[in-house]
């Protein structure tokens, strides 16, 4: 299971990059199984840490994605509308979900070691 060290991780399995990019962890995509649909937020929406901002649907279930920090949505990954499976194949690369202009506080985020330990 990959857990890149430059990222911060929420207990609810979102990752946050220093530039505000958000996705779900390798552990989370593996638990979800085949992703078939991703519902992304609107660009410009102002969100609060912990708020539901997106939904990732696998064959079996729909899972809410929470904002790992407060801020404004400045970009979404349009590629996911045609290729939702990118979330499975590259959760830290092509499968990113949205970018936040982080303006407020973060939730309870963990570093890679703590996240890996919590989900080992």
């Amino acid at each position: 299971m990959q857990t890149p060290t430059e990222l911060k991780y929420a207990p609810s399995h979102e990752w946050l990059a220093p530039d505000g990019t958000v996705g779900i962890s390798d552990f989370a995509q593996d638990q979800l199984g085949d992703v078939v649909y991703v519902e992304l937020p609107e660009v410009g929406r102002v969100v609060t840490a912990g708020e539901t901002v997106a939904v990732v649907e696998s064959v079996k279930t729909a899972s809410d994605i929470y904002a790992p920090a407060s801020g404004t949505i400045i970009a979404v990954n349009e590629q996911l509308s045609g290729s939702p499976e990118l979330v499975n194949s590259g959760p830290y690369e092509g499968g990113w979900l949205f970018k936040l202009d982080v303006t407020g506080e973060s939730g309870d985020l963990m570093d890679a070691d703590a996240y890996a330990a919590a989900n080992g």
Partner: protein, 357 residues
């Protein structure tokens, strides 16, 4: 904070084998069951194109024997069991007095005075009590053999070719709904040419303490282990109703498309089923957004029903759903399904969604 008392989950004889195969286990109807091994889509595709094997040992088996066995089953089921010759099997319903369903079951005729019923895992206790109650008027003996049997479902277009070299029975002579004893891979089993995936295949009744060894031999033949996730997407594509979703104690079963299961005869639910069902089961196809159980179905902006089962169809490549809608609203071509507060277009399509060539 609230907590619910923890009931230990029951385990099938294949529990250790599932863990060994890397299965993700989930609670299902009181059982600890594999939802997937490699992945739902890969397992689903294996069953549609080659062959897979499912552990369905959690299902219940009741044996019905005695001079009144046939008469008893005529009374407690809606289909005509007397049409069954020994060695044949039949899909059937256990109605309640109100005209709902206690369960949907499979009936296997073993001999003139002997039948085997296979019932849904989560209904074993309820079905047993119901049958006991009605058995009092008949000369029958009921035995719950659920713990004695492991049950494996070998499903897929290559099922027959894979099993044939390893059994003493000519499988091509055994048509759909055949039920017969066989020697398979060195084990004494009963085979039924039945299943719940929309594909050809066999259900294999094996002694519980031999189930794991047989499972290992089947995997060694190249069968893909498949979990509950694939079982659900396969059965939904095939338009098969699932108890607890399309059927329930308080749901008129004639709402489904399986109206042929009710024959014109005296049975426990006959009076209760006289009234026309207030809802009808329809099939829906959507473009992109998967819809799930409980999502509202709208017609011209008005709520007319709800989704009972929904998934993204691996075979068809788009979301599909079954829904119960008000009978007077069941003939439209186009509906909408509300997903997280937003209405998405859905086309009504005939069931099943998928039929093998």
């Amino acid at each position: 904070m609230t907590s619910t008392p923890e009931t230990p989950l029951r385990r099938t004889p294949l529990h250790a084998a599932h863990l060994k195969a890397g299965a993700r286990m989930v609670p299902f109807g009181g059982w600890d069951m594999p939802v997937q091994y490699a992945g739902v889509k890969a397992e689903h595709d294996a069953v549609r194109t080659r062959a897979g094997v499912f552990d369905v040992s959690h299902m219940g088996e009741f044996r019905v024997q005695g001079p009144d066995a046939g008469a008893f089953l005529q009374r407690v089921t809606t289909n005509d069991v007397m049409k069954l010759k020994p060695g044949r099997a039949q899909y059937n319903w256990l109605p309640n007095e109100a005209g709902g369903l206690v369960d949907d079951i499979y009936v296997y005729r073993v001999g003139e005075q002997e039948f085997l019923l296979v019932v849904n895992a989560s209904n074993i206790g309820k079905d047993w009590a119901h049958l006991q109650q009605h058995a009092a008027d008949f000369s029958v003996q009921l035995s719950d053999e659920s713990d004695r049997w492991g049950l494996l479902a070998v499903q897929g277009p290559e099922a027959e070719a894979l099993l044939q070299p390893h059994t003493d029975v000519n499988l091509s002579a055994k048509k759909k709904n055949a039920y017969f004893p066989a020697r398979l891979l060195g084990f004494d089993v009963w085979l039924a040419r039945t299943g719940y995936t929309g594909e050809d295949g066999f259900e294999v009744f094996v002694k519980a303490d031999e189930a794991e060894a047989l499972w290992d031999r089947l995997l060694a033949l190249g069968l893909t282990p498949a979990g509950l996730g694939a079982r659900d997407t396969l059965r939904l594509e095939a338009g098969f109703p699932l108890y607890g979703h399309e059927f329930a104690d308080d749901l008129h079963p004639l709402a489904s498309t399986y109206t042929w299961v009710v024959k014109d005869k005296e049975h426990v639910g006959r009076a209760g089923m006289q009234a026309a069902p207030p809802v009808k089961l329809i099939g829906l196809a959507l473009e992109r957004v998967p819809v799930r159980e409980g999502y509202p179905v709208l017609l011209n902006g008005e709520r007319v029903g709800q989704v009972t089962s929904g998934t993204s169809s691996p075979t068809l490549g788009h979301p599909i759903a079954m829904a119960l809608v008000q009978s007077d609203a069941a003939q439209a071509d186009a509906y909408e399904v509300e997903v997280r507060g937003k209405a998405h277009p859905a086309r009504r399509v005939e069931l099943p969604f998928y039929k093998r060539a």
